[in-house]
């Protein structure tokens, strides 16, 4: 009785925790992870495992070495590992996958101050680093449901070449096409995305603005079917729901999310239509990450009742 606890209000807090949020993201990524194993075989699971283990381990060691509190329990490194793995082709050498994870955690996240302080999305930046460093293995895509890992062109490459060798729209939706591990199965990604929106983890604003912008621009550029292919191809759905909604590196306010989504859409479409790379999702999100502090500044509202001076 003589040891009553004193603290300023509020004395009750919501049950929401950082690890709970990250766990929800992992749950939302599960359908895509399972789909990747079904589509590309067991090696998908291996790549995901290697990425997660090396991400968590490198975060643990990094935080030990710089003598800060070890925060691997918040599961954010785990999320980064899964996200990076889903952005890699299934045939990626495992050491490259591990190196990518370490780069994401140590260079992109840790060196900038850890969770919440990094300005660029770790998984995306690591993917871009790998794309430049290991161009050969990073662009070797495997055909779906092919036990001997036969290589194939991705639909985006086919679209770019104005080729006619495209999978059907149904196959595109189910993920039966060449591409990175987790980006192909639109159905699984949408399931995960809707879960995150329903749980209040992410806002619908960014994915809708992002995908909508790409769709409209593709519609103007190449017609309705072309637009549908553009939306389902590449990493657009994965990026729009899981990367363009990252807390640390994207705007916090609804109007900021609108600007971010539309900006990502325009850059993605520009790279896809006119650039020399077939895919622009990673670059667009990274570029918009850099603009995020400014977008946050522009979209700061006048508080209710505030006088302009």
């Amino acid at each position: 009785m003589d040891k009553l606890k004193l603290s300023p209000s509020p004395h009750i807090l919501s049950k929401k925790t950082v690890s709970g949020i990250m766990l929800d993201v992992i749950i939302a990524l599960l359908p895509a992870a399972v789909a990747s194993v079904l589509i590309f075989g067991y090696r998908s699971a291996l790549v995901i495992g290697v990425c997660v283990v090396s991400a968590v381990l490198s975060e643990f060691l990094f935080q030990k070495i710089i003598k800060t509190k070890v925060l691997i329990g918040d599961l954010s490194a785990c999320v980064t590992g899964v996200l990076l793995a889903l952005n890699l082709p299934v045939s990626i050498p495992l050491w490259q996958a591990a190196l990518g994870s370490v780069f994401a955690i140590v260079v992109v996240k840790g060196l900038f101050g850890g969770i919440g302080k990094n300005f660029a999305n770790p998984a995306i930046t690591a993917r871009i680093m790998m794309l430049i460093a290991f161009t050969g293995t990073m662009t070797a895509y495997t055909a779906p449901l092919s036990p001997d890992l036969a290589s194939t062109a991705t639909p985006l490459e086919a679209l770019k070449a104005m080729g006619t060798d495209l999978p059907s729209l149904k196959d595109m939706f189910l993920g039966l096409r060449g591409g990175c591990l987790g980006e192909t199965c639109a159905a699984a990604l949408l399931l995960g995305g809707i879960y995150l929106i329903a749980r209040g983890i992410i806002s619908w604003v960014t994915p809708v603005c992002y995908i909508g912008t790409v769709f409209i621009l593709a519609l103007i550029y190449g017609g309705f079917d072309y637009a549908l292919y553009q939306v389902l191809a590449g990493g657009l759905i994965l990026g729009a729901f899981f990367m363009a909604t990252d807390y640390s590196t994207t705007p916090t306010r609804p109007w900021g999310k609108v600007i971010f989504g539309i900006g990502c859409g325009i850059i993605t479409a520009a790279i896809r239509f006119y650039g020399s790379y077939p895919e622009g999702v990673s670059f667009s999100i990274l570029l918009m990450n850099i603009l995020t502090p400014y977008i946050d500044k522009w979209t700061r509202p006048m508080p209710i009742g505030g006088n302009k001076k």
């Binding site: 009785m1 003589d2 009553l4 606890k5 004193l6 603290s7 300023p8 209000s9 509020p10 004395h11 009750i12 807090l13 919501s14 929401k16 925790t17 950082v18 709970g20 949020i21 925060l71 918040d74 954010s76 850890g114 969770i115 919440g116 302080k117 806002s203 604003v205 807390y247 640390s248 916090t252 306010r253 609804p254 109007w255 700061r300 509202p301 006048m302 508080p303 209710i304 009742g305 505030g306 006088n307």
Partner: protein, 443 residues
């Protein structure tokens, strides 16, 4: 911005006591009447140790314009006049009265003569009534509207948005006739264009009662409000009921509005009808460590320990004791502290509920920013505070923060956001005072 998501937050209701009809506790052996249990100048003692007093007798008169008198809440003998450290860590004088256990009413109490606005306001002043929702601002000052200023709306605050508390809910149910009389007095003497009674929609019985009660009263409307904390915050309530926004540095009256707590209105009515000033208060006693949560009517000045004893004592070791609601109440260092006029709840938490989770880094999720009822940016306050940058704080409008605690409540990283807002507000205040002092010296 607000159209993407309603600001504020759904807090757990925990209104366990909404069916608990308030009962008077056995009078305590002594009461301790603080002389600054209101905003403004402390009251000045009108009695000395050894004096015999009875319930309702004046023991301290108001110490200025913004002040309020204090009346004896038990019959007995004035024991001593103490200095007491208040919840806000300041010293206050307090009159300690030893009860004779008889609870005798002061025999000279008569209903005041109220015939016009000045006599009404004088009566409110003498009643010792202050804002009973917790703010404890002297009500007479609030009602003392200058000539020529029209009051468009009086809003009666029955939102009671804090978890646990049901004392105001009970006012609607148990003190209906006093409430009706109080509203009549306001219509007659303050003459607002309309009176709006705001109640959160989780209090069905109170809403029903109020709707029936005011059905035939002209210019009075009962409004059901969404149960979203902080619905009962003054600015939030004004916006919810009238869509008016109180500008920075202005008072509700500047937009033609006066907000009064529902129990405040009932207390005014009681004094004008019977002459009995404010001497007792209905308090919700609840929390995981309390044996028998209930609404109790206690004499003002009753020590916390006596109130908990009346609620059956503790079923678990209390780890934290809170005066007021869990969102904005104060944690108390001991149980000797007395109940004040503005106290509406006493909560005792067990070990599990009293746990304070560790603060972890901000993940920039934006929950606090999206949920702030005033659209403020708590993490930016924190940064500017750490950088000791009062100019940035001024630009970010930290002074508008009403400290409702929504930001801290929703934070998944359990960051101490509203706590830092308070420090930042103080930093800005000190900076402005220093600037003013320098200007005065130079000019």
């Amino acid at each position: 911005m607000a159209f993407f998501r309603m600001p504020g937050v759904k807090v757990p209701h925990r209104k366990h006591t909404s069916n608990s009809i308030p009962s008077r506790i056995t009078p305590p052996e002594e009461v301790c009447l603080l002389l600054s249990m209101h905003i403004g100048a402390p009251a000045i003692p009108a009695v000395k140790p050894g004096d015999k007093v009875k319930i309702g007798q004046l023991v301290a008169k108001e110490g200025g314009y913004v002040s309020s008198p204090v009346h004896a809440s038990v019959s007995g003998t004035v024991k001593r006049i103490d200095d007491i450290t208040t919840a806000a860590n300041t010293l206050s004088k307090a009159i300690v009265i030893q009860s004779d256990g008889l609870m005798e009413k002061y025999e000279f109490l008569t209903p005041p003569q109220v015939t016009d606005r000045p006599s009404f306001i004088q009566a409110v002043k003498e009643s010792g009534v202050v804002g009973l929702g917790g703010a404890a601002f002297p009500t007479a000052v609030k009602l003392n509207v200058k000539e020529g200023v029209t009051v468009e709306e009086i809003i009666i605050n029955g939102a009671e948005c804090e978890p646990y508390i049901t004392a105001d809910t009970r006012t609607f149910i148990d003190r209906a006739d006093e409430l009706l009389y109080g509203v009549d007095l306001l219509l007659k003497y303050i003459q607002p264009k309309r009176i709006i009674i705001g109640i959160e929609n989780n209090k069905k019985e109170a809403i029903q009662k109020a709707k029936k009660l005011f059905e035939s009263v002209k210019d009075v409307a009962v409004r059901e409000l969404p149960s979203v904390y902080p619905q009962g915050g003054e600015k939030v309530l004004i916006y919810s009921t009238t869509k008016k926004i109180v500008p920075e540095g202005k008072l509700p009256l500047d937009v033609g509005v006066i907000v009064l707590n529902v129990t405040t209105v009932a207390a005014i009515a009681r004094y004008i009808r019977t002459g009995m000033p404010l001497t007792e208060k209905c308090i919700t006693v609840d929390g995981s460590a309390v044996n028998a949560p209930a609404n109790l009517i206690v004499p003002i000045g009753t020590r916390i320990k006596d109130v908990f004893a009346a609620a059956g004592g503790f079923k678990a070791d209390p780890e934290k004791i809170i005066m007021g609601g869990p969102m904005m109440g104060h944690s108390m260092p001991d149980t000797e502290y007395p109940v004040m006029k503005g106290t509406n709840a006493l909560l005792a938490f067990d070990k599990k509920d009293a746990e304070i989770p560790e603060e972890t880094p901000c993940i920039n999720c934006g929950s606090c920013i999206q949920r702030c009822p005033l659209h403020l940016d708590p993490p930016a306050f924190g940064k500017a505070y750490m950088l000791k940058d009062p100019k940035a704080l001024e630009k970010l409008k930290v002074n508008l923060c009403m400290e409702c605690g929504v930001c801290s409540y929703v934070c998944p990283a359990k960051r101490h956001l509203v706590q830092r807002n308070r420090l930042a507000k103080n930093m800005l205040k000190e900076h402005n005072e220093k600037k003013k002092a320098e200007e005065n010296k130079n000019g």
